[in-house]
């Protein structure tokens, strides 16, 4: 009887231990996978946010405040990558998660900044062109009037001039 009980206890222990191992191993893998996937998502979000900031800058927007915000997200991603390399998946996931909303917000703001900068740049362009055209017309007209005055005074000076006879 005692032998049977001992066998039962040992078998139960083996089953429980095996069950725990089989149950916990996927959990560890899933934690690592989750952290890795979160890292990838955060990386893509920061990349896309930078693309939007870069486009806004090319359009003529002032992006210094956007870069300051994005630096916070980039630092979070770097810390997440570093934590992931040390095997700390939990910290990696948390840091990656904290980068995501900042990157998304920067992307939205950058898109707005790009739109505003494009409109402002277009307005500046057309006002510059208009002012240049007006300036050139006024200048050419002034030059033409000046030329006419010079020409008239030259001819009148020529006609008023008395002929002189050169004697040898």
């Amino acid at each position: 009887m005692l032998k049977h009980t001992r066998f039962f206890v040992v078998t139960l222990f083996v089953f429980l231990a095996l069950g725990f191992c089989l149950n916990s191993e996927p959990r560890v893998f899933s934690q690592v996978d989750q952290a890795s996937s979160k890292l990838q998502t955060a990386n893509v979000a920061v990349d896309q946010a930078f693309n939007a900031v870069f486009d806004a800058e090319k359009a003529g927007a002032n992006v210094s405040s956007l870069l300051t915000q994005l630096n916070v997200a980039a630092d979070d991603v770097a810390q997440a990558e570093n934590a992931y390399r040390t095997g700390d998946s939990n910290t990696a996931a948390v840091q990656a998660d904290s980068a995501l909303p900042i990157a998304q917000q920067v992307m939205t703001e950058a898109q707005d900044a790009k739109q505003n900068a494009s409109i402002s740049q277009q307005n500046t362009f057309w006002s510059t062109i208009s002012l240049t055209v007006i300036g050139v017309i006024v200048f050419v007209l002034a030059l033409f009037l000046g030329w006419r005055w010079v020409k008239r005074s030259y001819i009148s000076r020529l006609s008023e001039a008395k002929p002189t006879v050169n004697t040898q």
Binding site: D47, F50, K58, A74, N82, G135, V150
Partner: protein, 199 residues
């Protein structure tokens, strides 16, 4: 002076005047060649000087250097700076083929810098665990800015210099907006270290 001369003067003055008046509009269409676009990567010792770099380091001893990057690419840039641990036999990045080292990065920085902006950061590092034999030392754990990395990097005893030589390598990578990927910028600096058993 003849009338033709006056005409010539008016024509030249007119041409110069028109060019001056139109210059703000012309700058939008004419692009002058700009200087070389590059990124600077530098390493400074304590006190932000090109001196006092840590060299003889012992297990458990805290060391620090300052690393900096200046953006001269003409626009904002997204940088990734990888920190790697190298021994005497590990290859350096290849400047000719512009390829990075094959070493796995331990620590990394990610940051953005606008044009002409300089980014700088302090890197604290400690050899947290190492083993020594007569001919070899192994850095087991290298702690960088409070992250403990399992480095497991061996170095052979250099009988000539009487050192266990390691190098902390800093590799600069930049994000390429056209390919949407981070590529090696062909810039690296390294810090040579001699691991000693006691400080």
């Amino acid at each position: 002076m003849k009338l033709e001369r006056y005409k010539l003067i008016f024509l030249i003055a007119g041409l110069i005047g028109v060019l001056i008046i139109a210059s703000p509009a012309l700058t939008g269409f004419i692009h002058f060649p700009s200087g070389e676009r590059l990124s600077e990567l530098y390493l400074l010792g304590s006190g932000n000087m090109m001196a006092n770099y840590p060299f003889n380091i012992a297990v458990g001893q805290n060391n620090s250097v300052n690393v900096g990057v200046t953006n001269q690419l003409g626009s904002s840039a997204y940088y990734v700076l990888y920190v790697e641990l190298k021994n005497q036999t590990d290859p350096f990045p290849n400047a000719t083929t512009e390829s990075p080292s094959s070493l796995p990065p331990l620590y990394e920085y990610r940051f953005f810098a606008s044009n002409d902006q300089t980014w700088e950061s302090k890197l604290n590092f400690t050899v947290s665990a190492a083993t020594f034999s007569e001919s070899q030392s192994i850095i087991k754990v290298l702690t960088i800015n409070n992250f403990a990395f399992n480095a497991n990097k061996p170095a052979e005893w250099d009988a000539t210099d009487k050192t266990f030589t390691y190098k902390v390598l800093f590799e600069l990578w930049t994000y390429n907006t056209k390919t949407s990927s981070v590529t090696y910028n062909n810039r690296y600096v390294n810090l040579q270290l001699n691991l000693t058993q006691s400080s």
